[in-house]
């Protein structure tokens, strides 16, 4: 079992007829994702990627009970698209757009919490359960990265995910579920929130988090482990260990402020609760092996 999505998840695509929407929806379908319908205002009645298009999520939901919404709309329309899916009762949403206004990021996060919903993104390439389903723009065809297996992965980055996951696969492992929470300062979902699902997932042996300087997501992971919400091995790779304080390193959230958010502090916290932190991407594979061996010997 993968977490959040698999081949049975019924996916609705908002913004399906756009260039990016149509391109990646076709890839999602090709990979086996169960896309049931699409939404583009004004295009009700058309077909796109072989799927019926509706004017609104409500109209689509009248015909197809979707479980999840995949949003391909420009950044300034994302909040509205998220609220629209929530309004129709969808509680799993993925949005990729990079450039969502900060105050709208916050409203998305607050709406997710208020509705007990999972909103993944923005500023991400989405999530994948290799061999089962993909929501987003993840290059599932790169087999040295998106190999099915038993390691859960959560990431704040894009390209770095490929870099680190390739190391996981090179070490002989594969991926059960990979979730890109995105690089925005206020993402819709946070690492620690998925740990219970990974804990419960009998197809996940361990979790790798790909974090970075800034924010508190890695600290929350440490806190979740410390209160026993996650007991499987957890390996972290965190970028920005040598970044200067007070400088924003690429992602808006990747900045050390108020003396908080340094990779050194995150590392110390994670290690204090028994997680392993890789200094270089290539160490992730070895740490995984070590942690799994240790767990096996303990069980």
């Amino acid at each position: 079992m993968s977490i959040l999505i698999d081949q049975n998840t019924r996916v609705l695509v908002q913004g399906i007829t756009g260039k990016e929407g149509a391109f990646w929806t076709q890839h999602m379908v090709d990979m086996g994702t169960r896309v049931v319908a699409g939404v583009t205002p004004g295009k009700e009645g058309q077909l796109c990627c072989g799927k019926p298009v509706y004017h609104s999520v409500r109209n689509a939901m009248n015909e197809h009970k979707a479980d999840a919404a995949m949003i391909f709309v420009p950044p300034k329309f994302v909040l509205d698209a998220v609220l629209e899916s929530l309004d129709s009762g969808i509680r799993l949403i993925v949005t990729l757009a990079d450039g969502i206004p900060l105050h709208e990021q916050a409203k998305i996060r607050a709406a997710a919490l208020a509705n007990n919903a999972v909103v993944i993104g923005g500023n991400t390439s989405g999530m994948i359960a290799p061999g089962k389903a993909m929501m987003g723009s993840i290059p599932y065809w790169i087999s040295r990265v998106y190999q099915p297996g038993r390691i859960g992965i959560m990431t704040r980055s894009g390209s770095l995910t490929n870099e680190v996951t390739a190391m996981v696969v090179a070490a002989g492992f594969g991926v059960s579920s990979l979730i890109g929470v995105g690089g925005d300062p206020v993402p819709g979902a946070r690492f620690a929130e998925f740990l219970p699902a990974f804990e419960a997932d009998d197809e996940t042996d361990a979790v790798v988090i790909i974090g970075e300087l800034g924010g508190t997501m890695e600290e929350e992971v440490a806190e979740a482990i410390s209160r026993g919400a996650f007991t499987k091995p957890l390996i972290a790779f965190l970028s920005g260990r040598t970044a200067p304080a007070g400088t924003r390193m690429g992602h808006a959230g990747a900045i050390i402020t108020g003396g908080r958010g340094s990779v050194a502090d995150k590392t110390q916290l994670l290690e204090s609760v028994g997680a392993r932190v890789a200094i270089r991407p290539r160490e992730v594979g070895a740490l995984l092996k070590e942690a799994l061996r240790e767990r096996k010997s303990r069980l």
Partner: protein, 375 residues
């Protein structure tokens, strides 16, 4: 986008937050008029975006016009890329507070923060006596409620008239935070004056970059940047940071760029610049390389692992850029991802060989930069 103090205070004044009387000058010759308008003593404040202006001597009280003129002349002569000085009336201060609003990522709510000790470095307070910082989170749909302001100011230790005045400022600050799409808005210090009023002593306001389409009046000119190249890069929309070292990074993806940055440091190399040309910029190899070359690096280190940002397209851009710009320094290129199998063929005209392991590429770049290896 970080605003200058004088701009932040314009926003404050518009929101109804009291600010000291002031005159913005762009040359020392404007001092006499400013002094006449404000009286003496007054304060000269360099309008630069870096923090710690007080410690750096960029904010000073002056007691005579002559002193003011001398100081202004020196500021304009010596402070790099200084374009304006804010001359402010001196305020008779009774107490200083700290007040700020930012966004709380965990709750998706705005976070109002205050401290009864202003003026000091709030980050120091946060790290050492966090219990001194009072917090209140605000639902963005519902807005800041009167009861929250009343409780927040009470917890700040304020009473009676001071509580009411600072409360009003909290309300106004929140409105400004929302209407400006701010990521941070800060009054530090907020003066409580001897005559019983509250006045914003300093002002910081940073507008969310993703919201600049709603704030087109703010044009980010050269004075907002530390160097010409940073200004150039920003105009192109390319994330770029300048450092003093040898190796120019040209990477795709912030996380990967930061990782390469770390690896270079681990290997004993130094960074000339951080540059991302992934995402929407993956076809801008030429511009990116031009920005790198301006730093006269000893080597350019290219690392990518892209999907939409295709390796073959980036390779084509790099090849074209090398042919056009004829860089005198060597290039180390580690390109992976969609289209990677075509890269070597595309690189053939410039004699570049694709590497596929990040650490190998970093080691090679550092070796070249440190003179241990040729390209």
């Amino acid at each position: 986008m970080k605003l200058f103090e004088y701009q932040a205070k314009e926003v404050f004044a518009g929101a109804g937050i009291p600010v000291p009387k002031s005159v913005l000058i762009t040359a020392a010759s404007e001092i006499p008029a400013a002094v006449e308008a404000l009286g003496l003593p007054c304060v000269l404040k360099c309008q630069v975006l870096s923090g710690g202006r007080g410690k750096a001597g960029l904010v000073k009280l002056v007691h005579s016009q002559a002193e003011a003129e001398a100081l202004a002349t020196r500021y304009f002569a010596e402070v790099p890329s200084l374009h304006a000085v804010l001359v402010e009336e001196a305020v008779a201060i009774e107490r200083e507070l700290y007040l700020a609003l930012t966004m709380d990522a965990v709750s998706g709510r705005a976070m109002l923060m205050g401290c009864a000790e202003g003026g000091v470095e709030i980050e120091y307070v946060a790290a050492h006596t966090p219990e001194k910082i009072v917090r209140e989170t605000i639902d963005l749909d519902r807005g800041l409620q009167a009861f929250q302001i009343s409780d927040f100011t009470y917890r700040l230790g304020l009473r009676e008239d001071a509580l009411k005045q600072v409360g009003k400022i909290c309300g106004a600050l929140y409105k400004a935070f929302r209407s400006m799409d701010a990521e941070l808005i800060e009054i530090n210090p907020l003066f409580l004056t001897k005559d019983g009023t509250a006045v914003a002593g300093d002002g910081k306001l940073s507008i969310d970059d993703n919201s600049m389409h709603r704030h087109v009046a703010y044009e980010k000119g050269r004075s907002y940047y530390g160097s010409d190249m940073e200004f150039e890069a920003a105009k192109e929309g390319i994330p770029y940071l300048e450092f003093d070292g040898d190796i120019s990074l040209m990477c795709a993806g912030a996380g990967l760029a930061n990782t390469v940055y770390d690896l270079v440091n681990y290997e004993g190399g130094t960074i000339a610049n951080y540059l991302e040309f992934g995402g929407p910029n993956y076809m801008k190899a030429g511009t990116a390389m031009r920005l790198c070359l301006a730093n006269k690096p000893k080597v350019i280190l290219i690392v990518t692992f892209g999907t939409i940002a295709r390796a073959d397209v980036m390779a084509e851009g790099i090849t074209k850029a090398v042919l056009e710009l004829k860089p005198s320094c060597p290039i180390v290129a580690c390109l992976r991802g969609t289209g990677e199998e075509r890269v070597d063929e595309i690189f053939a005209p410039i004699g570049l060989k694709r590497l596929s392991d990040t650490e190998e590429a970093v080691k090679k770049a550092v070796a070249i930069a440190n003179g241990r290896e040729n390209a």
